[in-house]
Symmetry: C2
Subunit: 162 residues, 2 copies
Amino acid sequence: MSKNVELDAKDVRIVRLLRKNARISNKELAAKAGLAQSSCLERVRRLRMARVLTGYHADVDPDPLGIGLQAMVAVRLARHARADVEAFERHLETVTEVVTIFHVAGANDYLVHVAVRDSAHLRELALSAFTERPEVDHIETQLIFAHRRNHELPVYLDLEED
Amino acid sequence: MSKNVELDAKDVRIVRLLRKNARISNKELAAKAGLAQSSCLERVRRLRMARVLTGYHADVDPDPLGIGLQAMVAVRLARHARADVEAFERHLETVTEVVTIFHVAGANDYLVHVAVRDSAHLRELALSAFTERPEVDHIETQLIFAHRRNHELPVYLDLEED
DNA sequence: AGTGAAAGAGCCAGACG
DNA sequence: CGTCTGGCTCTTTCACT
């Protein structure tokens, strides 16, 4: 899949710092990673080119944006032919309420995290984006009370480095 | 929950742009949002203070970091007393393999997205972080083949603005 | 609130050790 | 890989709408 990118301890430190705060200045990043600014800039560029760093995104409180409700929709497909899988995934990409799509192995085929205005909106979305789709056999919707994302990298990654 | 923050169309545009690219320069952000640099800077500051923008984070390819496997662990608690819930959540915060915790209503109580080295690591984690916990009644683990996050804001948010 | 201008800080390349 | 230099761009403040 990904090219044989080898990361050393300083690369991991850079990645870890950018994961925690993507708007850190190169100057501060260099200082905290223990590098000169020029070297740091070069490493970040290489990490981006190698697609180790794939993007920088702001996290937003859904409430003031009018997102009153979030849910996880577990989806089981009727058939698992490549055509069905691809058609369903292409369809999901057009649904703006979708936050994250997890393609899983187990009782379900997909877990789809959606963000909606209210319960009426969720009901309408469940029908139009899922139940009424020909590829879909069955869905089960769970309301999300709260969710917390962890922006630290796992510590076990440190053990591999010098 | 959140204070009565009212966002106008320009705020939404700023948030949308920062969600797509958190490292955009203030100059470019101002141009794309249709504001002077100084006004744009002031708005971003206000959005951060109001906790509408809660952070900026780099997205990383898990592969080169030694994350070979990801899974969603569905957890059912034995009891739902406040003490049990809080103890379990506090525990999860100490587990570095945890990526996201979804607290849900439905058949399960939590969906926990974890990132691990390999299947041996997952097996060990399932035992030590979940099954052996006194608060936990039952878990079900689903392998994540792939997941795609959508960094666009839902389009239905635009309709509220002038 | 928003703007424009001006000072200050940070960015980034190139040359060299 | 680190340092230094120099020019350039972006950031940030401030007085004025």
